[in-house]
Every structure is written in C-alpha cells, then in structure tokens.
C-alpha cells in the first residue's frame, strides 16, 4: 500500500505530465489525458492528509458536496452552449444529430479542482485566528 505522501506525489505527477504528453504526442486522445488527470486529482484529494483528523474529513465531505453540485450545474450550462444550435426535428431525422456533452472525466476534473480549492481554502480559514479573539498564550 502506498503512503499518503507517495499517493499525492503520484497524483501530482499525473496531473502535471499527462497534459504535457498530450501536447507532445500528435493526435493524442483527450479522453486518455483527461482520464489520467482525473485519476491524479482523485489520488490527491482522497489521500490522507499529514494531520488527518475528524475536521479534515468533515471539510473534505463538505467540499466534495459543494464541488459536485457546482460542477454538475456548470456541466449543464456548458452542454447547453455546446448544443445551442441543436434542432431535434432536424438533427434526429437524418441520424446525424448527437447531443454533445463534456465527458465524465471532464466532470470529475471540474469537481476535484473545485473540491481541492474549497478544502484548502476552508482549512486555511480554520487556521486563521478569529478577529475578536484574545491573544494566544506563547507556544
């Protein structure tokens, strides 16, 4: 079993190198690249934190909840733009019409990016002292 640090590093390597390889290899498929990026982001998000306590798990769940709702709504908006010229009477008639959509991997990438951003922002806020609080005793 990989340690959490190794899992995160492996995830970061996938996120970093998959897009570089995508542009380096002519004709590379975005589906494969996005699958690798999505896998990398999942590894980073779900790997244990250095201090993995109940608050971390609570924040990760909240971040995932908010990120999924947001990215799903965003997917619907993007798909609406992709299909704004779609005419069901015209396009389904000749078997040429296919409703376009971003892929499931793209949805995972959107969700994981938003979840990671929210988690780290909330974690940063947790560490920030309250404005009205008295001074901390010395360490």
């Amino acid at each position: 079993m990989l340690s959490s640090r190794t899992t995160k590093r492996l995830g970061a390597a996938l996120v970093l190198f998959a897009p570089i390889l995508h542009y380096a290899i002519p004709g590379a498929s975005w589906i494969r690249t996005s699958a690798a990026v999505a896998a990398g982001l999942l590894m980073i998000f779900f790997a244990k934190e250095a201090a993995d306590d109940e608050r971390v798990r609570d924040l990760k769940l909240k971040a995932l909840n908010a990120a999924f709702s947001t990215s799903f709504a965003l997917t619907l908006i993007v798909n609406w733009f992709l299909n704004r010229d779609f005419d069901s009477t015209r396009d389904f008639d000749g078997a040429t019409g296919i409703l376009r959509s971003i892929s499931a991997f793209d949805l995972i990438i959107l969700t994981m990016v938003a979840a990671l951003a929210l988690f780290h922002y909330w974690r940063y806020q947790d560490g920030a002292p309250d404005a009205g609080s008295p001074a901390m005793p010395p360490a």
Binding site: A51, D53, E54, R55, V56, D58, R123, Q125, D126, G127, A128, P129, D130, S133, P134, M136, P137, P138, A139
Partner: protein, 63 residues
Amino acid sequence: MTNRLRELRASKQWSQGDLAQHLGVSRQTINAIETGKYDPSLPLAFRIARLFELPIEEIFEDD
C-alpha cells in the same frame, strides 16, 4: 454551540499546538472549535472533558 475551550487552554498556559498534541488533532481543528466554526464529535468532546477534568456540559453549552 458555544464553548470555554480557549479559556480553559489559557488557564493551563497551553498554546493551540500543545492542546492539539494532547488531543491528537491538528492545531487548525482546535482553532476551528475555539472560534465556533466547528462542533467536535462526541468522542473528541469526551477527550476534551477528560483532559480538563470537567463534565462536558461545563465546557460546551447549547445556544
């Protein structure tokens, strides 16, 4: 829920990091509890109560 964690910690001259170490959680988690951003689970609340040798209801109060 309000709590007296900051006051109790100050009475022992502990930093947030010291208290976090005693409870086996991170400093950020202690800060989140003290500032009222997070209500701890029952097991963590019991650990806090045991550490300060006080009943839970003397540390945490329902609004």
